[in-house]
Amino acid sequence: MSATADVSARPLPLAHFLRKPGERSMLRVSTAGSVDDGKSTLIGRLLHDTRSVYEDQLEAVRKSPVNRAGGAVDLSLLTDGLRAEREQGITIDVAYRYFSTPRRTFILADTPGHEQYTPNMATGASTADVAVILVDARKGLLAQSRRHAFIAALLGVRELVVAVNKMDLVGYSREVFEQIRADFLALEPKMRGARLAFIPVSALEGDNVVERSVRMPWYEGPPLLEHLEAIEPEGETSAAPLRFPVQYVIRPHDGFRGFAGRIEAGRVRPGDAVVELPSGRRTRVARIVTFDGDLEEAVAPMSVTLVLEDEIDVSRGSMLASAEQPPQFSRRLEAHTVWMSTELLDAGRTYLLRHGPHEVQARPLAVRHAVDITTLDPRPAASLGWSEIGLVLWETAKPLAFDLYSELRQNGAFIVIDPQTNRTIAAAMIEAAAEDPYAARRAAPQPFRAARLTPAERSMRSGHTGALILADAHSAAAQGLERRLFEHGADVVLLDAPVAPLEPLLRAGLLVIAPRSSVSAGFPVLALPPQEQAGDAEALVKAAMRELRERGILADRDQFNAGEGI
């Protein structure tokens, strides 16, 4: 196959279009807060003062029977779109607004700020370059503002703007503003390196929103809009290493085999070295094919078809990635997980994890800790409920090719779907790869060798050696232990009747739970005490797990133990 054919000189259509000519680069902004903060009024003011509100929309607001602002036009009505919201005076969902100035186009994700709406805040922040955090000057720094700032930082927003609103109600006091700034700066260590800016505003009066305030001469910084116009969005995703999840294999005839998908991050040119995961095989890109002809280069977020130099096994679910900077590859990972379901996270359940275009079964093995979104401190937790955030250890049925969220947002996030209701019940940001007890199984293909498999190789893969556990098959302890070991990822079998000889099973590396008359054939043996002597079954199982670990039968690869909490 030739390296390039019919290379078109056309510009990159989508990328070109999204990045409008000249200085009008797009900025995505999220806001959060309740009506009490004056958030809707602030946005209404931004839209109004940038002449982004049409006259008929303004007339409709003037004519509205609802007016919460008292007197003047209630600008918050411009943004509260749903009837329930207008009637109840609350914002219950993320709303997107568009406005532009001669310098820049803005997309504004407007989200409610109540505690129970963490999921909406996270949604708005997930695509934002900048988060505008609202603080009511009269009330000082409240839990809600801290929560929003923390969620924005967790979701990887690099620029936080603290707008201290309602300055008109505190007599435009510099002291009030400085106190709030000092309070907020104390939280800076928890803001994950995001940049902080502070602006005193009055959305109601229009001070420092679009126009510079004449009532706060002590403030020397720019008004909010000017600040937003000047921000440089995060580095291009096209500067990142290539991440190309394959969505579809295109094979119209024997002579062509192309892999279609969207470039999630990075750029690609014919000749680039790529690695295919899960196989770990390397090859080079031969062609970048599109309907309009081949390209010399493609960048995120374009959708293209790649043809490779070598015939390697690639299918839907594969990822083609930069060979120099490959992604992490593991079945276990730790992720900050925003729980969005009223049903609790259930460590015994299997969920669906969607990462890019791929879905894979996954289990939450443990909640490492929950995050108190008011103090921003970790606290112990066994599960997560609606609107809670925690660091969760996930295990997937197949290994995942991912990056850490802090390094590459596009390939470091996933959502969790309840397979029974099809609802999206969580969103997660990957913090770390956890050690994968199955790592040996998916090591790169080895050259052919005629050599006996050693017990060490077996235990490297399974995480344990063969051992005999003496117990009564009908006891709750035996059955509970079998299940616990299975959940742990061990190869375990519970025998009802004595089997002789047991040696083949033990040599295969199995943990065999068998009647007390069984013979160990030289393998380690452990006996569960008879149940009537030693308390409840759960305690027996815990003690047995501990003993298995202490005796080195079960490798303690990570501190995690699904049954015993942390």
Partner: protein, 206 residues
């Protein structure tokens, strides 16, 4: 249509429900489609500002803002059970100006009604209704010739024209910069009651 459904006899809400919403829901049901793509944008109307890119519809094709799925990053959950469906809006984040700039860049042909031309219209309550739509004249009304174009195409007579000289794509883009009125202002159906788009969407309107 055979029975002569029209907004004069039925009222705009009922006419729209019969001719558009129900017809669409029926057609999607008959085809057994899992998903239908639409061109709705969030900047068009207040309730559309909260629309998802993947918008979930229940077995009756109905939209419920409370059962919509959160959409983070660009990861979409398109899973549905049999009978349920998705309406997918890839242009959600485009604005009216984006659409016209794209038409200009890609040289896409569009319906002539979008371009200004001298047309016979009836002026009613500030709305220009095209005479060719078969509008029934009220006492004292008479058609006149006006340079006008349609900014948004829907049913006639429920989509009014605007006065405009813009007869090319470039002129339309220039005109958009000067606009002080919203795109759907001339969609009578958006204004027949408070929250009218939200209600139509709940019933299954696109």
């Amino acid at each position: 249509m055979r029975e002569g459904a029209n907004p004069y006899d039925l009222g705009t809400a009922r006419c729209c429900q019969l001719l558009r919403t129900q017809a669409l829901v029926q057609a999607l049901k008959e085809g057994g489609y899992d998903a239908a793509f639409g061109g709705a944008r969030r900047d068009e109307e207040r309730s559309r500002a909260k629309e998802r890119v993947f918008s979930f519809r229940d077995r009756n094709g109905h939209w419920d803002p409370k059962t919509q799925r959160p959409e983070l990053w660009s990861i979409y959950n398109g899973r549905v059970d049999p009978g349920e469906s998705m309406r997918i809006f890839p242009l959600s984040n485009w604005t009216e100006a984006d659409v016209w700039r794209y038409i200009e860049m890609e040289n896409i042909p569009v319906a002539p009604l979008y371009f200004a031309k001298a047309r016979e219209v009836v002026v009613r309550g500030g709305t220009l209704i095209l005479a060719e739509s078969g509008v029934k004249l009220l006492p004292g009304e008479k058609p006149e010739r006006v340079m006008c174009r349609l900014r948004t195409l829907g049913c006639t007579p429920c989509s009014g024209a605007i006065r405009s000289q813009a007869d090319t794509v470039e002129k339309i883009i220039a005109e958009l910069r000067e606009f002080r009125r919203s795109e759907r202002e001339n969609r009578v159906i958006d204004h027949d009651q408070d929250g009218s788009m939200e209600l139509k969407k709940r019933e299954g309107y696109f």
